[in-house]
Amino acid sequence: MAPILEVEGLTAAFPAHDGTARVLDGVEFAVEQGETVGIVGESGSGKTMTALSVLQLLPAACQVEAGEILFRGSNLLALGGRRMNAIRGEEISMIFQNPRSSLNPLFRVERTLDQVLRAHRGLKGDEARRASIELLTDVGLPDPERILRRYPHELSGGMCQRVMIAFALASNPKLLIADEPTTALDVTVQLQVIELLARLQREHGLTLLLITHNLSVIAELCDRVMVMYLGRIVEQGPVTEIFDRPRHPYTIGLLSSRPTLAGDGRLSAIPGQVPDLRERPGGCPFHPRCPYAQDVCAEQRPAREQAGPGHWTECHFWREVAP
């Protein structure tokens, strides 16, 4: 079966007078129908830009220079505004990082949901109300009738995120993109939202593209994971593969900077900082920070090589690197 979403050679940049900041540099991946795929990486690695580019919500200053985004075989980048608008919501929905500010502060929850239900399902009045209650129940909100009359500021962050998920699901999308859905929430609520997303994914047969910098969220929720660094996917594969047998020094660095129960309480960090996007290192983008780097890394960009079943990495020395 053909993948529901295929991104090929996606390159995007912010042109500026003092150098072009290339935020995406040849991003390539595919997502199968019904899969949950995570994108992980540091701030500035291009995770959010990748997500926004799928919905064509990139900031106006950001230009796509090359590549294709195929959704069910048709290139989204070639679609006009009107047809793209039909895909948004109807086929692909997105939830954002900060749930409270993702809801119009002047609308009661009822009105927010009503607008989507009317636009996408043609529901009005009592029908829309019934559908809203159903949606809110579905995302696990108690007493939906009461929630409908609330403004976003009257709800907690977790409730707002549930409403936001209901809002994104109201139009019955096939693909849900979640950009850091748990980052702004406190830890106990994070787990609830993750469990909710997992359940909705199962029950609705959703395809879920999850963006996070939290590896635990990936481990909990995803089938596959893609590791991004400086606008490139440097390693991707099934979650168990990547966690147990990482084959890219950056992934190893990410994994070892997590707190563990067995550890001595000290966290290891990846040395250095994400470089300025206007001065991308030549060769392998990670080489200035890589403990395994050798001369070749600064000169040659590593090819994408298969390191296991469904497991791809971009490192000259992937055979040698090990956690």
């Binding site: 948004r88 919501g89 409270r100 993702s102 406190d186």
Partner: protein, 295 residues
């Protein structure tokens, strides 16, 4: 947890202050703003009921009693034709409030439309519109109004147009600025993300979230509009005699101050001062009440 509650508190307070009843309660609890509203309401009532309150007609002359100082029969004295200054001050509220309201309304609609178009569509249109606005605001407001009123010729209508045009860049810039801010908001992006059409996003998600600073500005501008109207009429570019407009009345008595008949100019001038003060107090109060960034 702590961040979400902390963030929630001011937002909650601000939003509960947006309902009409809650707003009324807040206004009452702030004496300065309440004073502003009291002044505004009094002026509106005076304008409406002027014929009932005023002891004389606005153009009623008593040639036997000219330039009389304030007394019980003429509380503000009389002018050089024997007109009753008090009655004319009351009738003046009709003219000045109308001019202020019309000028602000026209300026608001024009300015907000221009600002919204510039901010929403952006690109070349934004550049062109905002550079025109820059050109307009390069002139001191009163000088520009003077030029426009002078070019159009003195009349009530032209006076309103002149003052309105001076205000257009203020609203345009405010509207564009607010719009650009809310355009970046997650809820606007979320609305686009579920397939809302552009005009829908503008109508329901952007514009309703921009009104607060504009509303405050309009209230403040109302006072200045009255001041400008009076100023233009004072130098003869606005309304003419015998219209009981405060600026005209001040100019009528200006020569008399030196000769001791201060009341001819003083009382209409006081009316202008009170009206401007009232609207400024309201504007300042509303800014504190509505604008959540200032809390």
């Amino acid at each position: 947890m702590s961040t979400s509650t902390l963030a929630g508190v001011p937002a909650r307070a601000a939003a509960s202050g947006l309902g009409p009843r809650a707003l009324a309660r807040r206004i009452r609890s702030n004496p300065v703003t309440a004073l502003g509203f009291a002044i505004m309401l009094t002026l509106i009532l005076v304008a409406i009921f002027a014929p009932l309150i005023a002891p004389y007609g606005p153009e009623e002359l008593d040639p036997s009693n000219t330039l009389a100082p304030p007394s019980s029969s003429h509380p503000f004295g009389t002018g050089e034709f024997g007109e009753d200054i008090f009655s004319r001050c009351l009738y003046g509220a009709r003219w000045d409030l109308t001019i202020g309201f019309a000028a602000v309304a026209i300026g608001l609609v024009l300015g907000c439309s221009i600002g919204a178009a510039a901010g929403f569509i952006g690109g070349a249109l934004d550049e062109v519109l905002m550079r025109i606005m820059d050109m307009l605001s390069a002139f001191p407001g009163f000088i520009l109004a003077l030029g426009i009123a002078g070019a159009l010729g003195p009349s009530l209508q032209n006076l309103i147009i002149a003052i309105a045009l001076v205000n257009v860049p203020i609203y345009a810039r405010l509207m564009r600025g607010s719009l650009l801010v809310v355009k970046q908001s997650s809820y606007a992006m979320a609305a686009v993300g579920v397939g809302a059409k552009p005009w829908r996003v503008l109508r329901w998600h952007l514009l309703p979230n921009t009104w607060a600073p504009i509303f405050v500005q309009a209230t403040l501008q109302f006072g200045y509009a009255i001041l400008d109207a009076a100023g233009l009429s004072f130098i003869g570019l606005g309304i003419h005699l015998p219209t009981p407009e405060w600026g005209v009345m001040v100019s009528l008595g200006i020569d008399r101050i030196a000769t001791g008949e201060w009341w001819v100019s003083f009382f209409p001038g006081l009316m202008i001062a009170i009206a401007v003060l009232g609207f400024n107090l309201i504007g300042d109060g509303l800014r504190d009440l509505i604008d959540r960034r200032q809390r």
